[in-house]
Symmetry: D5
Subunit: 96 residues, 10 copies
């Protein structure tokens, strides 16, 4: 089941720089783990923003919620979620 | 070069029904042609809306503009465009 | 899987009154069929509005989309969809 | 009398972590007490947000106000309230 | 139980003038009936607008909904509703 | 001359608690003085908010401005002002 | 008593051209009458818009309301009103 | 050349009180100097706000920019600028 | 003196097609005349929109207003205007 | 390939003044380097704002992203990006 998620990241200037670097490192590892599993299917940078647009492929709303709120950078994110589904015109049975 | 495009379609109730069916048919054909060429890489329905979220992969801003404004249903669309680029954390060299 | 859906209904003044009455009758029947099946779990009027807030319990995003866009009054609706999930504090295992 | 209430919770990063844990514990207890009494009829998480959508069933506007502003986490909440009423199409006399 | 209601009235230019005059006459009568009963406690014009701000004093959400949607000009109104309650600082036990 | 004023109050969490209590006490006294004088004709709590909706009855714009900006809690308020006037349908000559 | 009023004028394309010309002529005469009386103290075009920003100097809210809603082009206007008062720093006792 | 400028002033509560008083004093002097020169033609308080609406009469965009950004309180202001021009209906050749 | 102007063009579907073609032709000629004169310095299409972003270089606010409101397609445009000035960091004395 | 970029700069009052001066100096140098290279084709101040409107001419979305996020003042900027393309009416083959 597909969802588009936009994540705007805003780490305050006064936040400890070392801790931020560490959080970003853990975030990257967690992201790649989810990408490999196929749950975080796509990720793109939004040009000019510290933000990404992503496509998730999960079993349920609850699974998506758990994936998102346990991201290391989640406390610094503004998140929007839009449920998607297959488009009837697509030539691909399973466009993910 | 990647762009996310959201298209909200609004065909007025008073628009000729037969003409609408015909336009949707031409639209579908044009869409599938662009999907096959790889320029219209992804398309998803937004749940509950007569709208889609799409990913385009084009050579230039001008090519994207020409693709969009020549869509048969373009006169009935509200279109938003967001330029994207590869995310540095992605494990795929070429996530499209 | 739960979703909150808000439907604002706006039938234009110039729309044929008899046809509107008929559409509302079909809508009501379709609604009650979905309510009985458990898929449309709750519906409430929003005070002062021709609008409702509803809770849907469906198998997938695609099922929700199909239920919504085939509603007889759908062409006159503005629809917003928010995916929900169980709240960890709830004393009910299955609050629907 | 039914009301839909949305609560967005935002505890600042610099807020004392232990105090926050304690507040959440007291909040959970107070919530479950209200849930058991039938006044806080439903609660759902909004996917991807530290937020809930709830249905309250109270005697009056004043009772709802008192319940909300005395919640332990209220100082960290953005609250929106929408008065609801029974939908005439519902097959349930008393859909709460 | 008190509610603040704002009503913006917009009768389209092409609407039959005589019918509009008649509707306004019926609206005025209905309003005065509700004002006399004490349910429509206050009404004020918003300066420069074809709009009013009103205070209703009703038994329940459902009663307010029924009063509003049966107003003769309701089909031409945009309505917003805010539930109110007594202010603890007021020197009047029953400020309506 | 009547004005509707909405006041949203937001005292930052880090503001000295004792000072806040004192300010609220002075605010309440000043409010009751203005209520007794008839200048602050109505005040209601907005359900779920630390906010009020009020009706002022003053001689001029300048008098209203002076009353508002000298309120003890004014530095913590977001204020909106809407000029009102008598509604021609009202059965009361002087609905305040 | 001073008010800033912004008027956005939007005469639909399908409105009878001759009638529009006539309305504008009557509007201009009415405007100049009010300008001469000192009640409509200032008027400026907003660059690129069919809109004006004006300063009114009236006795009361009610007088302003009556002036505005009886303007010949009022049915085609979107009007916003902001009450103003003398600025304490002004070197002019009576800046109008 | 005329411009309408709205300035919302927001001096943070934690800003040094003495420094604020001093800045306001310098601001007032600078304002009166510009008022005397005819460049800052009008200033009015917006009722209930720490804000003013002003009319500037300057030689060029650049001159307006320089006047605004060198105001002592500019760092605490949110500024909006709207270019104006003479209204063709005005009976005054040079309404400033 | 420089201004950025955004023009969103919206010709209703029911507008006479031949008349629209003719208006666009006259618009293009008028545009090129202004481009040659140096007053309409830049024009770009906004990707995916029937809209342009333009830079005007004019003598005064009044000249810009007259240029804009006399454009053949002006009745179908939504126009926004932002006054600009030279940037102090620019290496070009006269960046237009 | 052309993009319009708007940059709103907001350096907090409490930020170290010397460091800010230094950052602005580095920013200016970086800007002029990009201006000389032709990638940052235009820059204009927005009147009354600490903001600029700029036109970039780059090879790809990715190049624009890299240019923007490495600007010394980027952490203090709110950035909006709009992809542009040549306007068909322009008399210049290559309007940059």
């Amino acid at each position: 089941m597909l969802f588009m998620v936009k994540m705007d990241v805003n780490i305050p200037a006064e936040f400890d720089a070392e801790k931020a670097t560490q959080l970003k490192f853990v975030e990257k590892n967690r992201f790649q783990e989810l990408q490999r599993s196929g749950k975080w299917r796509h990720i793109w940078r939004v040009v000019g923003q510290y933000a990404n647009v992503s496509i998730f492929d999960v079993e349920s709303n609850a699974e998506l919620h758990d994936l998102l709120v346990t991201l290391p950078l989640y406390p610094f994110m503004t998140v929007t979620v839009a449920p998607l589904c297959r488009h009837p015109s697509s030539i691909y049975e399973d466009d993910r």
